[in-house]
């Protein structure tokens, strides 16, 4: 039975040869003659964007395998992807519309459901104005769906109340990129992993949250003593298996560590002065105003953050900070971060400070040297951020506060001039507060579960579902029953992954096509179909200009054509990504302005970025390999002098512990999908709270004991796991479970970053009690 390691290696080598030779790789367990067809597609979980192959037979997905020909994930997938067929074919799917009648959701026809939806929205718009309605979307919706929803609400209805759950996970990364580089999205690519010698993982449990990325880091590190991993994270997450230097600050104190690393770099003259002089400017905020400062002023500012001082405030030993700084400057250095940096009240500033390190060392725009935000959802980048489906944004880097940008989109959309409001709409948390105050009269929620995922969730659950006279109308489009559908007035069954076609855009700016290979179950419909139907009914009621959407678009392909045109002249230009090309190729990275362009590995780099060759950003005085941050003011990236402030709710005598939330490998977000695969469910059947042994001893808690975790907002009761993963004084709880006791977002805080409006899921004060 089985094979030896030698056989294993030989087999793998043979597989690689087959892959290179372009032959279809037979997957274990499905003989080629048994499978009706193999189809290339893309995973729908995190933003890694793994290429997958689907064995489709008899109208079902019989098997999923990693796509060995995929240029960046190279055949790797994680357990969540492998079990996707079981998720899609789960018997728990929603299969027909449900309308709430007398307090109960009852089966309804699509006609009744859509008339109700359009009627309630039209009524709210007529009686209370366009800003009385809202759309709350998702980084899991397809790009065409998010674009169409934004078009309908901003250009058709005339409200900027368009938000999405990327506000909860990526907004600080967006704020960081925009304030530092002028435009959103990373400039590097996954290939940089193969060139980096120093990986700087900040607030990222990539081993569980981005397993394939971490597997590639392991592969890069394997057998090489000169490839090192530095972690900056209060928690010893499973990345520790491959970490060489761990900086573990007190929760919320990492800004001082980042400044201290910069202080070491400039203090020891390890900065790249030539790069700074050509590409960087320095700015600070004084008396509420942004002012330009000099490099010398930056050095003076950093003098208050010596490693020794940082040790006193952060708990990280000074010598570790010095070593990290020296390694960082040595490079090539690739920084990767996720929610530990973003889900903070100082998330944008923390992002700025990581960028600062790359800019002062010149560790950017070269193979292996980049500042790379990892994304938690499959289409937060391409779908919500890029299409402008947030309250202050318009497609492809435009913003609602810019008159020229509004005019461009109104012209493209054939909207009346002045339709798009000139002020941002309500951000996510304000939107749900407004719903609770009945200022939002109708809300459409698509492919997301705010009834479980919002921080301090209980008041927002009441906002969505609390019985009250003249309660606002809440409609939800989803594939499964969730903690949000249980609150809704109308539930529409959605087609999900592989049951519809469209584009996902993942972290490295790669847009990938997901084909439809299955029919949706029951009466479920693609979200885009529902949006087109909704728009047509609003047009018939006069709430939207006639012909604004109806008749223009029949399907996602039509919407994609307009999206390509919307990218013209922007820093995102992807006009070269025709539908036919996307269907054939394994994704293309923008910019890709022509059909002949292969896509761009590294933005802002002459010789790689086509926008430096032609168009408004062109600069032919540059030599190949030189960097130009063309989207930034004065075409120079900004090093920000940000004060190292802490969290909104530090621990105190009454609430002495810090709660942080996150994920495990086998589950994804609120578990509405992964809990439907029995194997994944059995991997983590119930919630747990990580408690450090020192704290456990004081509390008299042992593994398996039930512990009440209580904040100023609410409580959860969860089994303890005594482990050295968290720092003493900190506890960690994944947020996947939806049962009443485990709903950890009753405990978390809804304080937000003032720039990004992203909530601080990672830090709030709690007390623990054994129950």
């Amino acid at each position: 039975m089985g094979a030896t390691r030698r056989d294993f290696i030989k087999g793998a080598a043979a597989a690689a040869v087959v892959a290179v030779a372009g032959r279809r790789l037979p997957a274990q367990g499905v003989a080629p003659e048994d499978a009706a067809r193999w189809v290339k597609s893309v995973c729908r979980f995190c933003g890694t964007g793994c290429g997958v192959l689907l064995a489709v037979k008899d109208g079902r997905i019989a098997m999923l395998r990693g796509d060995p020909e995929h240029p960046t994930t190279k055949g790797l997938v994680c357990a969540k992807a492998l079990f996707l067929p079981k998720v899609v074919h789960s018997p728990d799917r929603l299969t027909h519309p449900l309308v709430r009648k007398n307090g109960q959701l009852e089966r309804a026809s699509w006609e009744e459901a859509m008339e109700l939806l359009a009627g309630r929205f039209a009524e709210a718009i007529e009686r209370h104005g366009p800003d009385s309605v809202a759309f709350y979307g998702s980084g899991q919706a397809l790009s065409e769906e998010s674009y169409l929803a934004s078009r309908l609400f901003k250009g058709g209805i005339g409200t900027n109340n368009v938000e999405g759950n990327p506000r909860l996970c990526m907004a600080s990364a967006v704020g960081g990129y925009v304030t530092t580089f002028g435009k959103d999205e990373p400039m590097g690519c996954y290939e940089d992993i193969d060139h980096a010698r120093v990986f700087f993982l900040v607030g990222s449990n990539a081993a569980e949250c981005h397993p394939v990325i971490f597997d590639r880091i392991i592969a890069r590190k394997q057998g090489r003593r000169d490839v090192l991993v530095i972690a900056l994270d209060p928690r010893k997450s499973p990345i520790q298996t491959n970490v060489d230097l761990h900086l573990d600050p007190l929760p919320g104190q990492d800004l001082a560590v980042l400044h201290a690393m910069a202080q070491v770099i400039v203090g020891e003259k390890r900065h790249d002065l030539r790069f700074i002089e050509r590409n960087v400017q320095f700015k600070a905020t004084r008396d509420g105003q942004t002012v330009a400062v000099s490099f010398e002023e930056y050095v003076e500012f950093l003098s208050q953050y010596t490693p020794e001082r940082a040790q006193m405030t952060t708990g990280v030993k000074a010598e570790k900070i010095v070593e990290a700084a020296r390694l960082f400057a040595l490079g090539p250095t690739m920084s990767l971060w996720t929610m530990g940096l973003n889900q903070r009240t100082r998330g944008v500033w923390a992002n700025n400070l990581v960028h600062n390190l790359h800019l002062i060392t010149g560790q950017i725009g070269k193979p292996g040297a980049t500042s790379f935000s990892l994304t938690g959802q499959p289409n937060a980048c391409g779908g919500v951020r890029d299409t402008g489906a947030l309250c202050g944004n318009l497609p492809y880097g435009r913003v609602v506060t810019d008159a020229a940008h509004r005019a461009e989109m109104e012209k493209l959309w054939s909207a009346e001039p002045g339709t798009i409001p000139d002020k941002p709409g309500l951000d996510t948390m304000e939107l749900f507060k407004a719903l609770g105050e009945d200022r939002i009269r109708a809300m459409l929620i698509l492919t997301t579960n705010p009834g479980q995922s919002l921080p301090n969730v209980e008041p927002y659950r009441r906002a969505m579902g609390g019985a009250r006279p003249d309660k606002p109308f809440v409609a939800v489009i989803d594939a499964f029953p969730t903690r949000t559908t249980e609150l809704a007035d109308l539930v529409l069954p959605a087609a999900m992954w592989s049951e519809k076609s469209g584009v996902f855009g993942m972290s490295e700016r790669r847009y990938q096509y997901m084909p439809q290979v299955l029919a949706p179950p029951g009466e479920a419909r693609a979200d885009l179909d529902v949006l087109l139907d909704f728009a047509a009914r609003l047009e018939r009621r006069g709430a939207v200009k006639e012909g604004f959407i109806a008749g223009r678009f029949q399907n996602a392909d039509d919407v994609w054509e307009e999206m390509r045109e919307a990218s013209r002249g922007t820093a995102y230009d992807f006009r070269g990504m025709t539908r036919a090309r996307l269907m054939k190729e394994r994704g293309i990275r923008w910019p890709a302005p022509t059909e002949q362009h292969p896509g761009t590995a590294r933005r802002y780099v002459k010789g790689e970025d086509p926008l430096l060759d032609e168009g408004p950003y062109a600069d032919n005085s540059l030599a190949d390999g030189e960097v130009k941050f063309y989207a930034a003011p004065e075409q120079r990236a900004v090093v920000w002098l940000r004060p190292a402030l802490g969290p909104a709710e530090p621990p105190d005598a009454g609430y002495p512990f810090v709660l942080s939330t996150g994920r495990v490998l086998e589950h994804w977000h609120t578990g509405t999908m992964t809990m439907r695969a029995e194997e994944l469910r059995r991997a983590y059947p119930e919630a747990f709270v990580e408690v450090h042994p020192v704290d456990a001893m004081k509390l008299g808690v042992r593994t398996g004991d039930r512990v009440k975790i209580e904040s100023r907002r609410g409580a959860a009761v969860i089994k303890a796991w005594v482990t050295e993963r968290p720092r003493p004084g900190s506890v960690f709880v994944p947020f996947h479970w939806q049962d009443e006791d485990s709903l950890i977002n009753r405990v978390t805080i809804d304080a937000c970053d003032p720039i990004s409006k992203q909530p601080e899921y990672k830090i709030c004060a709690v007390r623990l009690e054994k129950v």
Binding site: G2, T4, L82, R483, M675
Partner: protein
């Protein structure tokens, strides 16, 4: 190892004292029909002729699968047995039938709409597998069957898999059967 096997009860004379015990049986292993008048579950279930079962004679590792259902293993239900039975080898009472197939698994596979081997095998909930998350040294046992570990079969996978974490794909089971998520309506 935790609780242990069945028919020692008879050897110890406890069955005659009215002590009850049950075990989950595989279909086709019921007490002989046609005139034999034995009580249901009078005999401990027999073992199919598989490599893990052969090794279990030596390794006492049965509960890794039979407590949690890894690999569709039938679940052990050993009620009302004296503590001494928790310490004995499973093979002491459970007889391995040479050449026999795990019928329940075969029946389940026939009804399974997914391709054979569509999903990577789950890892048992044991301490050594807990550590595998940290050490990535699974092949130390699984390449040559040390401690009775099933051998890896990773034919036709990309070479990058050789350097990836096993836990990226292999789920560690921690529960026999978790409740399905509550349907909202």
């Amino acid at each position: 190892m935790a609780r242990r096997t069945v028919a020692w009860a008879a050897l110890l004379g406890l069955a005659g004292a009215g002590l009850s015990f049950t075990a989950v049986q595989e279909p086709g292993h019921e007490a002989a029909a046609g005139g034999e008048e034995f009580a249901a579950n009078a005999f401990p279930p027999t073992l199919s002729d598989t490599e893990p079962h052969a090794d279990a004679w030596r390794e006492d590792g049965c509960l890794r699968c039979h407590e949690t259902g890894v690999g569709d293993a039938p679940l052990v239900v050993h009620r009302d047995l004296p503590p001494l039975l928790l310490e004995v080898k499973c093979r002491t009472c459970h007889v391995l039938i040479p050449g026999s197939r795990p019928r329940e698994r075969a029946a389940a596979a026939a009804a399974e709409p997914f391709a054979p081997n569509a999903f990577p095998p789950m890892m048992p909930a044991s301490a050594v597998h807990d550590r595998a998350w940290l050490r990535d040294d699974c092949l130390l046992c699984h390449e040559d069957g040390t401690h009775g570990a099933p051998l890896v079969r990773h034919q036709d996978l990309p070479s990058l898999y050789l350097e990836a974490k096993c836990r990226s794909c292999h789920v560690q089971v921690r529960a026999v059967a978790a409740a399905r998520p509550e349907a909202a309506e």
